[in-house]
């Protein structure tokens, strides 16, 4: 398992290639990438992501370990950025490796659901109209109940 919290961009191709290497007994690799999305009607200049150094790494490691144990993954990767990002930039990625695709897909969804509301990151949107903290969504909290 690898958990990375970094300010600089990551190379999704290189990360995926590295992750897939050396997993001869794993028939499925699933990756998900989150991108900073522009806002309709109120163009986004930037998104600033704040986090809680120390707790962030611990929380991501715990979430990834739970996914590995539950879906019997061969490996898991979580990369999450912080700092100032502009629309189109990659914020984060997860990758899961398992024998068959069902577990790899489910585990990736689980990782995403928990990253949304159990990893200490806070997003702030900067637009022409001003700046505001992104509010958490009830549906993100509800998403955890299915696990």
């Amino acid at each position: 398992m690898r958990v990375v919290v970094q300010e600089q961009p990551f190379d999704i191709g290189a990360e995926t290639t590295n992750f897939a290497a050396g997993h001869k007994d794993m028939g499925a690799i699933v990756t998900f990438t989150g991108i900073v999305r522009d806002l309709p009607g109120d163009p986004l200049q930037a998104m600033e992501i704040e986090h809680y150094p120390g707790m962030t790494e611990a929380a991501l490691t715990e979430i990834a370990q739970t996914a590995i144990d539950r879906w019997k993954l061969g490996d898991a990767l979580v990369i999450h950025r912080y700092g100032r990002l502009v629309p189109g930039e990659m914020i984060m990625m997860v990758a899961t490796a398992s024998k068959h695709r069902k577990n790899a897909f489910e585990a990736a969804e689980y990782l995403m659901d928990y990253l949304k509301s159990r990893a200490p990151f806070w997003k702030r949107e900067i637009t022409d109209a001003g700046e505001s903290w992104v509010a958490s969504k009830a549906e993100d909290e509800d998403a955890l109940t299915r696990w």
Partner: protein, 81 residues
Amino acid sequence: MDVLYFAWVRERIGIPREQVETSAATVADLVAELRLREERYELAFSDLTALRVAVDQKLTDFDAPLDGVREIAFFPPMTGG
């Protein structure tokens, strides 16, 4: 203990962290003490349903005990991913 604030909690209180001497038994007791300090604390802690708390970097709730705790953090619901 060290008390940390993140996102709009940090902005309302005006500092990212501070050292607090307290004999509060629980997180809720500490919050009650902080609220009495100044209006900026009262503003930040006025609605506890809008806040989350971590004790020694583990997510917990407001009735968690503070005995032996080194670090406590207050923040809004998380928006990762």
